[in-house]
């Protein structure tokens, strides 16, 4: 049955009914880890490519931390990874939160929803890492 209060169908991740702290911890893990077993069983290639690219982009950040990577290349890699993360999540964790972050409502993610989610999350994560490295003098613009 369609829930008109949500843009897409309601979804209930396994942790949705758990205790608040456990649920928020699981959500934090969800934000950082886009893969899932279900995703691997569904689209092995996308998940594996995503994993490989994640290793590459992590290496890029480490290189940046060592002062070996320019700001432009770093941003380019991050944008590229973000595009890949959208695909990975759409098959592994295809849902987004509906309403306040402290709530328990989730819904199926459309491509646009996932694009918005990954773009916004990675903007925050990228900005935090980038500004930290900039403050430490590892990245110079």
């Amino acid at each position: 049955m369609v829930d008109p209060a949500m843009l897409t169908e309601p979804v209930e991740p396994a942790y949705a009914a758990g205790a608040t702290t456990r649920r928020l911890a699981a959500e934090a893990w969800d934000h950082l880890w886009p893969w899932s077993r279900a995703g691997f069983s569904r689209q092995k290639l996308v998940q594996a490519v995503g994993l490989a690219l994640a290793v590459a982009v992590t290496t890029v950040w480490v290189l940046a931390g060592m002062g070996e990577m320019g700001a432009g290349a770093l941003i380019g890699w991050w944008v590229g990874w973000s595009a890949c993360e959208v695909l990975v999540r759409l098959s592994a964790k295809p849902y987004v939160k509906e309403g306040p972050w402290w709530g328990r409502r989730y819904r199926a993610a459309s491509v646009m929803d996932m694009l918005c989610y990954v773009a916004f999350k990675n903007l925050l994560v990228g900005a935090l890492l980038f500004l930290t490295l900039k403050a430490l003098g590892r990245v110079v613009v």
Binding site: A5, V79, G99, M112, L115, F120, L131, G137, V140
Partner: protein, 739 residues
């Protein structure tokens, strides 16, 4: 029938018109020649470093009458211009390069490189912009506006109090006309002009330094440890990191300096020992101050490897308000040791004598380190200074610290000058937010035929937004601001710059907060000046008999076209990574500058046609720009996906199209679901939701109860009549007996 077909054909031609506008806009952007001569102009690197500055730039343009120029001299450097008559050279005036003297960034986060000419009496005689990175001057406002702004300085004395805004003769303040829509740029430019001119004028004796009452020190008789001196502020530290000057950090600072005034008996004795202190004081003339400097870490010297005997120590200086004190070799003494217990090891040391008698240790002063900052994109070095303020503890000063009022920062002046308007703007924003948060109460008072309880507030918001926010305060938010933030984040973030435009600053705080609470609709639908103007035109069109020509695009077409704005936004963002100037140019897809900042009739015809065309189209289609093109709306729609509080829905909405039919934003789909990214929070659907003559489930229930003779209870939070729960007969009887 014939008429209906005519109307449909008209609507189709409107859709064609919309596409035509997009094409025309693209054509404008691609074909319109843009004249911005000094925008990101490539300057010869020697201009910043060569002693013969005027070989690389036409100094005669800013110092008319001069036919020869000296090498760079002084600290900060300037050039003297001479006129040759009968073999005799006569001093005409001075030429200075702003980036030799100040490193004040403008709105773009980069300085406006300005060549300034000043005659021998201290009057500005020429100003030339050599390079700027101001996006607003690329397209929105002609570069000639900045040239015209600079011309206001010609003939004005460098010692005058010149400010942006109205003149205040009673306070001897000369006012300059700002550039509408580029307030931040001109505030920065005013600082550049006045500080640059002032620095040179002081060096050549045109401006007399400010005389301050000298300090009389109290000898407490103590001998303090290094940590105690640092803790009380008598000894201070200035650290410059490599990244501050455009270098990659190696873990070591660029320079790490400690400094303090030695004339204070307690400090001097603690640092030099009793004998050393007395020897130093014996060698000083009245009014002179000794300053010690030690370098404890760092890859750079504070004395400078280029220092030659007779020259200047060009890396350190002392500043007190507008007065600067530099050091020559005769102002230097060796520092043989720091005796304070716990003092750190150092690799470089010096004692400098501040000889200017106008310096007073009783007032705050700054120790300044000057460095060259490497611009990685051009390889050019620009000047940067780093300072640390010191004010001696009151216990060392007879009578304590004197009364001292710090001059207001330019951005603070702006807030003070426009305090009433700012307060009114804040009231407007708060009022709209409060009204919207009370939407349930408002929509209950309204109904399908009378939406005034909601619309009265909304229309007021539009009118105030268009008139006050858009045309008067020129606070139309724009995607260029988002791009500028990205740029500033990467290059140089200075809060002062963003605070210099109070309306935009406050507006963005409001936008960010409300996007996360309710979505972009409150800004886009209620307060965006261009959006308001657009929808107001639609409403006016409706009232003046054009309703039959008004319409929406077919839903399938709308559902395709709505993605265009996201493409525009992401395209702009992508382009900005490669070329900010091109992104700024393409951001002309927003007609905001043409409408509010520059004026429809003050721009070349393609821009006017584009903006006027969009507004004209708005008479027939509700907010075509907002729905299909606005990159700012798209950028706000993306986080709106995660807005906290949405609009209400009933389960019956899945099969009822009443709200969807009336939705001006076409944000409700066939299942009755509202796309929060497209919804502009007009609240029309919420009016229907509570209207028992319009919302089908309510209509049905109303009719049923009326027929059954049951009372119509109020409509509850869930959007249904509060149910009538029959009381069991026994309980009712008991109630009656007790009663």
């Amino acid at each position: 029938m014939m008429f209906a077909r005519l109307c449909r054909r008209f609507q189709r031609s409107i859709a064609g018109g919309l596409l035509g506008m997009v094409m025309a806009g693209a054509l404008v952007l691609l074909s319109e020649p843009v004249r911005a001569d000094s925008y990101e102009a490539a300057l010869p690197p020697e201009l910043h470093s060569s002693p013969r500055m005027c070989d690389y730039v036409a100094c005669t343009e800013v110092l008319p009458g001069a036919d020869s120029f000296s090498e760079r001299r002084g600290q900060p450097p300037f050039v003297e211009g001479y006129k040759t008559e009968g073999g005799q050279k006569t001093l005409v005036g001075y030429v200075m390069l702003s980036t030799d003297i100040v490193d004040i960034p403008a709105y773009s986060g980069k300085p406006v490189v300005t060549l300034i000419g000043m005659d021998a009496t201290g009057h500005f005689v020429g100003v030339k912009i050599l390079k700027h990175s101001e996006p607003i001057l690329l397209l929105g406002i002609p570069e000639s506006a900045l040239i015209k702004f600079n011309q206001q300085y010609l003939g004005k004395f460098v010692g005058d109090q010149i400010e942006i805004g109205k003149a205040r003769p009673e306070e001897n303040i000369i006012g300059l006309d700002a550039i509408t829509g580029a307030t931040v740029t001109v505030i920065a430019q005013n600082q550049v002009m006045m500080v640059s001119g002032g620095e040179v004028a002081k060096q050549v004796g045109i401006l007399k330094p400010q005389v301050r009452p000298p300090a009389t020190f109290i000898d407490t008789g103590e001998t303090l440890t290094w940590d105690q001196l640092v803790a009380e502020g008598s000894v201070a530290r200035l650290t410059v990191k490599p990244q501050d000057v455009g270098l990659v950090s190696t873990g070591q600072p660029y320079v790490d300096l400690w400094f303090g005034l030695l004339n204070v008996p307690t400090v001097g004795r603690s640092i030099l020992g009793k004998d050393g202190y007395e020897r130093l004081m014996a060698g000083l003339h009245p009014g002179e101050q000794a300053l010690f400097v030690v370098k404890t870490d760092g890859i750079e010297s504070f004395k400078g490897s280029g220092f030659v005997r007779g020259g200047l120590y060009d890396r350190v200086q002392v500043r007190q308000e507008r007065d600067t004190y530099t050091f020559r070799d005769l102002d230097y003494l060796n520092l043989y040791g720091v005796l304070a217990a716990g003092a750190p090891a150092y690799t470089e040391s010096a004692i400098f004598i501040v000889r200017g008698k106008t310096f007073s240790a009783a007032y705050p002063w700054q120790f300044v380190f000057l460095a060259n900052k490497l611009d990685k994109t051009t390889g050019a070095k620009t000047f940067a200074n780093f300072d640390r303020e010191v004010w001696l503890p009151a216990r060392y000063l007879e009578g304590g610290r004197p009364a001292y009022k710090r001059p207001d920062a330019p951005w603070l002046k702006m807030w003070k000058d426009r305090a009433v308007e700012i307060a009114a703007f804040v009231v407007l924003l708060v009022a709209v937010a409060v009204v919207y948060s009370r939407r349930d109460a408002l929509v209950r008072r309204a109904d399908r035929k009378n939406k005034w309880p909601v619309n009265a507030f909304k229309y007021t918001g539009w009118v105030v937004s268009i008139g006050f926010v858009g045309f008067h305060a020129m606070a139309q938010p724009s995607i260029t601001q988002v791009l500028t933030w990205f740029h500033s984040l990467l290059f140089q973030w200075k809060w002062e710059l963003f605070l210099s435009d109070p309306f935009i600053f406050i507006f963005w705080i409001f936008i960010i907060v409300t996007v996360f609470l309710w979505g972009r609709g409150l800004f886009c639908g209620w307060l965006c000046p261009f959006g308001s103007l657009s929808e107001l035109l639609y409403k006016v069109g409706e009232r003046i008999g054009l309703k039959r020509f008004q319409g929406k695009l077919p839903k399938p077409l709308h559902d395709k076209l709505k993605w265009v704005k996201y493409g525009v936004f992401l395209g702009l963002l992508a382009v900005s990574f490669f070329s900010m100037p091109l992104a700024e140019k393409l951001a002309e897809v927003e007609p905001f500058k043409t409408t509010f900042l520059v004026g429809l009739f003050n721009r070349s015809w393609p821009y006017t046609l584009f903006a006027a065309g969009l507004l004209g189209l708005s008479i027939f289609i509700e907010r075509p720009f907002c729905k299909y093109l606005c990159p700012l709306g798209a950028s706000l729609a993306m986080p709106t996906t995660f807005r906290w509080f949405g609009l209400k829905r009933k389960q019956e909405c899945t099969s009822c199209n009443a709200c969807a039919h009336g939705c001006g934003s076409q944000a409700i789909d066939a299942d009755g679901r509202i796309d929060q990214r497209e919804c502009l929070l007009c609240l029309d659907c919420m009016v229907l939701y509570h209207d028992d003559h319009a919302c089908p489930p309510l209509v049905q229930e109303r009719k049923r109860r009326t027929k059954a003779g049951q009372p119509l209870t109020p409509i509850g939070q869930d959007g249904y009549f509060i149910p009538i729960i029959p009381v069991p007969a026994g309980a009712a009887a008991k109630e009656t007996t007790h009663g």
